[in-house]
């Protein structure tokens, strides 16, 4: 019976402390009965190999012991979907922006990518995951009740989203911001020989006139789309196409303008002329240095607009979300829309 004793000993190790003796006594009795019955059948003591076969059929010690343990989980089936959702939102919100910035540095300015170590990113991810899991595990342990699971009412569920719908408040917000920014921009930077920018005298390069009017033209196109969206709050192929074209031209214009040396000369009160020249060169160089960032952001913005066009075409566009408003607003910073 040495094999049997060893088997029971191995099971005992994994059993809950208070039930160990009881469970082992019962299991031992069952296995001994099986062995004795088999011995009675064959009319002799069983060989080790035969006992081994009986024990193997019974299952590995860990497997047998774990069947006696209550089902345990860190986060139960009720909280788990909420946990997964929260974790996904936190991780995406934390990882994606940092990863994109890191990627931008890697492509555009590898010398400065050290500002954002990927190791730090992984540490942040681990912290987020750890503390979110800990919070949910504590909630699970304290028997958190999700009241809304019991008190929900079909009447209180949100309306079915029309994928082509554009929220009127988003359109109004876009129009207000665009009009405000454009009035300020036009009054401040209207092409003239000398632009007064809060006391700083700027002499724009001749190319400024082209940039300014192109900007206003694109801005007007986008404003027209926003106004149209306000009265007919559903994306159409035409409007989605105009928005896509305006975004493409807007970012193209911005990229070109960044390298176009827009400032010919600057005059600042109490600044020596040679320092003013240095400042002019510095501003033009700074503008040029953001070229690749503008390209990267432009590609992302275009991808969003292109996706919208494709979805409108297939009748599955998701419009009217806060994300759309934010994205449109970011476009407006570049396009003046």
């Amino acid at each position: 019976m040495e094999l049997l004793d060893r088997y029971l000993d191995a099971i005992e190790f994994w059993l809950p402390k208070r039930q160990k003796r009881d469970i082992i006594a019962e299991l031992s009795e069952d296995l001994r009965s099986q062995i004795e019955e088999r011995e009675a059948e064959v009319g002799r003591k069983l060989e080790d190999a035969e006992v081994e076969a009986i024990l193997k059929r019974c299952g590995s010690p860990v497997e047998v012991a774990f069947r006696y343990r209550p089902q345990q989980y860190l986060i139960g089936p009720t909280l788990f979907p909420v946990y997964r959702f929260v974790l996904a939102v936190l991780l995406i919100g934390c990882v994606v922006p940092r990863f994109l910035i890191w990627l931008g540095f890697l492509i555009v300015d590898p010398a400065h990518r050290g500002y954002l170590h990927m190791e730090n990113l992984w540490t942040t991810v681990v912290y987020f995951a750890f503390f979110t899991t800990l919070a949910f595990a504590i909630a699970e342990r304290n028997g958190a009740k999700l009241e809304f699971l019991n008190t929900w009412n079909p009447r209180k569920l949100p309306a079915v989203r029309d994928p082509n719908r554009i929220s009127r408040s988003n359109s109004l917000f876009e129009i207000a911001v665009v009009v405000g920014v454009n009035v300020w921009f036009a009054s401040m930077f209207w092409p003239r020989p000398l632009i007064n920018f809060y006391g700083v005298q700027i002499t724009p390069a001749p190319v400024w006139k082209v940039i300014f009017w192109s900007y206003l033209f694109l801005s007007t196109c986008n404003l027209a789309v926003s106004v149209s969206n306000l009265f007919r709050p559903s994306w159409t192929r035409l409007r989605a196409g105009v928005r896509l074209a305006a975004t493409a031209l807007g970012y193209g214009l911005f990229c070109w303008a960044s390298k176009a040396q827009m400032v010919a000369q600057i005059s600042v009160p109490r600044l020596a002329p040679e320092d003013a020249v240095k400042l002019t060169n510095l501003i033009n160089a700074a503008m040029a240095s953001i070229f690749w960032y503008a390209v990267a952001i432009g590609i992302i913005a275009l991808a969003f607009d292109l996706r919208r066009v494709v979805r409108v075409k297939s009748g599955r566009e998701h419009g009217g979300s806060m994300g759309t408003a934010v994205k449109n607003l970011s476009d407006s910073m570049v396009n003046g829309s």
Binding site: D22, E26, L27, E29, D30, R32, R67
Partner: protein
């Protein structure tokens, strides 16, 4: 080959799910008279319902902790054995589950 193995695994999972509820009912029904684990297993096996010790004993413990069984250690044939039988709550539960089983069974007979 892989699909066949997948089908087999799926069948095993579904079979286990199907058996799980039935086993509680079968065990409760056999414990109208007092038995210890090994004879209970044999009684079930004799009626075509094989159940291994790794499944039976945890199930007995669960049913006991739910108040449906009572147990007592007693010496028999020079060995200590744990005898189980239905508690009054267990008898009531067996009656209810038996009725439910009959209802499901007759519905399934119609459906299948």
């Amino acid at each position: 080959m892989a699909q066949s193995s997948g089908n087999h695994d799926l069948f095993e999972n579904l079979r286990l799910e199907l058996r799980r509820g039935c086993l509680s009912l079968a065990v409760l029904s056999q414990l109208r008279t007092e038995r210890y684990g090994y004879t209970l297993r044999k009684a079930l096996a004799d009626q075509g319902l094989e159940i291994d010790e790794g499944t039976l004993y945890p199930l007995l413990r669960r049913l006991e902790s739910q108040g449906l069984l009572t147990s007592v250690w007693r010496e028999e044939e020079k060995r200590n054995k744990r005898f189980y039988r239905l508690s009054p709550e267990g008898k009531q539960m067996l009656k209810q589950l038996g009725a439910e089983w009959q209802r499901i069974n007759s519905s399934l007979k119609e459906i299948l």
